[in-house]
Amino acid sequence: MTAVADLTVNFDAEGFMTDPNEWTPEIAAVLAQEEGIDELTNDHWTVINFVRDENDKTGQPPTLRAISKRSGVDTKELYALFPKGPAKKVARIAGLGKPKGCI
């Protein structure tokens, strides 16, 4: 954790990063632990990378439905990987804002 101890990262009042460009994979690991995910597996990274790519391309984070349809990680797996509320957890760990989509 010492690798990120010196970084200054900005968060909003709800704990979401305000600038996705400040994000690094090391930050993701720290945020994941805060969300109760001890270790990020390959499947976690598949989701995180997909979400960040989509956000870069469209300027908006993808909906959970889009993730489950196109990332190769289906709904059941998503909920197993990011238990108790995957929408917010995925966005937060990926360094994006709070998701606004309804689906």
């Binding site: 059941k76 929408a87 309804c102």
Partner: protein
Amino acid sequence: MSEEPTRKLSIICSKGSLDMAYPALVLANAGRMMGIDVNLFFTFWGMDVINKKKVSHLKVVPVGNPAMHMPQAVGGFPGMTDLATGMMKKEIEKLDMPPVDEFLEMIHDAGAGIYACRMAADMMGMEREDMIDEVDEILGAMEFLEMSEGAQMLFI
């Protein structure tokens, strides 16, 4: 982080039209996405939504719906129900929302409980095999209320 008690939401789905099926499904899905425990209880006309043969054929009925902004008699013309239904399905697809059968599968995969009302099933002569696979159990009203202890409840 200290463990807070998990928020719970129970939704009673009593309507069988397309426009009344979606609000419950959207809310159930939103709840699961943010970590809320969600249970759905289908009863009366809501049984159509979990009826294998009917789930893909739910309709929007213009008659008696002032939000359609057309004279009641026009809404009753032959074909108007199919027209309204087709239009709504198109709009739903544009929003990247799944059709009802796929939506039920999705929220079930997301961990929402899907229950059928025993009395309504008896009344309509429905057996378990007439219902979609996602139905977890056929329950009495008391059992559903027991399950919903401490939950926020919605009747649609």
